[in-house]
Symmetry: C2
Subunit: 346 residues, 2 copies
């Protein structure tokens, strides 16, 4: 007995149809002919509703983020690798070793299968580069006009090594504040795509998975106090959150903060502050002063941390506030913006 | 030093703004004044990017699903409890004990905060009823017209008890097929809301978390072969998937399948087959014949399994196909629909 087969997907000119989200044969076809071609995990192949990880022992870290970035493709990446790297980073910022990923797709009817294929390939590549397999997925389709192409939701699960206690409440006066590289590259890249600005240079998103550098940092200095990736809201929002949680102040030294010249020019042109712009492959580390040298050495030995720098210090006053010592020696408070500099940055 | 406070959220007449997804102070306000009021988990309060679970030892099951159900509110539930129950069930169907949930919101600018508050309350209630805490979350906002009110993505993480090996490939000829209750209640409820049909009765969605009944079933019969919740595509899609994976056939007895009279009437009226309609709080169990009595007893002792029944058997022929023995003694093949009976059912 044979079942009448469906026509193969047209990955060149085809489009997403409502039937691809039905749970019926068309859904299976999308998974078999598009997703499974890219995602090879044996767990995914087992056809469970849930993905299964081998035996784990330890504290488990879990993070889910939804991604709605616009445009979907931008210099340095696309929504696919952005989502994979972002969820890996959220788990890595707790000190955990990422073990597995899940991906949920919300697709708009009519979205081009060729673009979905590019996004799936980017997800697979980012997962393979990071050695974190995709073990489960889900696809929903909504009617034309009820979404904006593709939204993704990625979850990363990791295990926290014994003895690691990264926690924003552990920031202490005299601790050093370290950043792993230039800030605001991702935000400026998205801004330039959206506003049709074309900065005459090679600026691209910094999107990257930071877990391997984190692992090296924790080897070098297991007593790291805080890690945070400054995504939406940038370095300013990340430090304000930590300052509020730990009830400490922060002081940054403007001249120490690494900023790509193009980002600096764009900010001057548009009246923006690099401290508010999103990064997607940078981290902030807060550590005791005696850990600064080993942490910096570990970061600079990794390609993603070659420009790592101490950019400031935790201080007692004023709890919840972040100050900037300007290049000219003055001081000003850094704003914690209420609203939106740029929607849909990630 | 004090920071100028934002005006409190107007939970009665306010609306979602783009700033609520910015990662700045407005995002924090939405979390503090709306979400945290409902979600009390101590992990959530710890203000990490990732949620942290206490020490776990065992195989880990993870499932992420996105929810785009339309309408958002329906008899018997809303998108919030549907998402919580759905992710718990996906993990429970691997035999795992669910440990924690994460929730990601994609919100459309202009969505009423009062409705978001109702959805958050429903998520919290479902999580508490199931004793599975929410440990992490994320909120994104897209411009008006770029989404449809609210989309949710929920992830559940669980641990698989020693000795449990639920796997769709374990379905064997002569195994019994059991269903936990009436089928198609959720699909028919959504259909009636969407088409403006008003069935004169008390039919409502069957949305429910099944993990406690699963736990009782596994106590009674640790050698259960397969569990599956028949959501999108209904009992037909679920059994076709298992039949294809295990390379077995299935035979259902039409007169044994429990169907609510209103669902039956609606199907006759609209030319639908209850076997294709989604359930959101039912499960299919496939088990060796000697486990049928203890499994049925465990199910019937649980409120969600009071109507549990054996509805068919696994057979050798024809691999990948599902047959129905009709009430009149005839046989027909059950279709595995290619497309969509009803989009956005979950």
């Amino acid at each position: 007995m044979v079942r009448h087969p469906l026509r193969p997907l047209d990955l060149k000119n085809g489009r997403v149809e409502l039937a691809h989200g039905s749970g019926g044969r068309a859904s299976h076809q999308l998974v078999d002919e598009l997703f499974t071609r890219h995602f090879h995990s044996s767990q995914l192949a087992a056809c469970h509703d849930a993905g299964i990880l081998p035996h784990v022992s330890g504290r488990i870290a879990v993070s889910t983020d939804s991604y709605v970035v616009s445009p979907l493709f931008f210099p340095g990446g696309c929504i696919g690798d952005l989502a994979v790297n972002g969820s890996i980073n959220d788990v890595a910022m707790s000190g955990a070793k990422p073990l597995a990923l899940t991906v949920g797709f919300i697709l708009e009817e009519g979205f081009q299968l060729a673009d979905l294929d590019r996004i799936a390939a980017a997800i697979a590549r980012a997962s393979q580069n990071a050695s974190v397999p995709i073990i489960s997925g889900d696809t929903k389709v909504v009617e034309r006009g009820k979404a904006d192409g593709v939204f993704l939701s990625t979850t990363c699960v990791g295990v926290i090594p014994e003895g690691v206690h990264i926690d924003p409440s552990r920031a202490r006066p005299s601790d050093a504040i370290i950043v792993s590289g230039t800030i605001g590259d991702h935000g400026t890249t998205i801004l330039s795509c959206r506003e049709g600005l074309s900065f005459d240079c090679d600026l691209e998103s910094d999107s990257a998975a930071l877990h391997e550098m984190v692992s090296a940092m924790l080897c070098a200095a297991p007593d790291l106090h805080v890690l945070r990736d400054p995504t939406r809201g940038g370095v300013s929002a990340a430090l304000h959150e930590i300052a509020a949680t730990a009830q400490v102040g922060m002081r940054l030294w403007e001249s120490a903060v690494p900023v790509h010249p193009t980002v600096r020019s764009a900010c001057q042109l548009l009246g923006l502050d690099p401290l508010h712009l999103a990064c997607e492959g940078r981290l902030l580390a807060i550590c005791p002063t005696d850990a600064v040298e080993p942490v910096l050495a570990a970061m600079r030995a990794h390609p993603l941390g070659s420009q790592a720098a101490v950019i400031g210090e935790v201080i007692a006053d004023f709890p919840g506030f972040v100050q900037l010592q300007t290049a000219y020696g003055g001081h000003r408070l850094i704003d914690w913006p209420a609203g939106e500099q740029l929607p849909r940055i990630c």
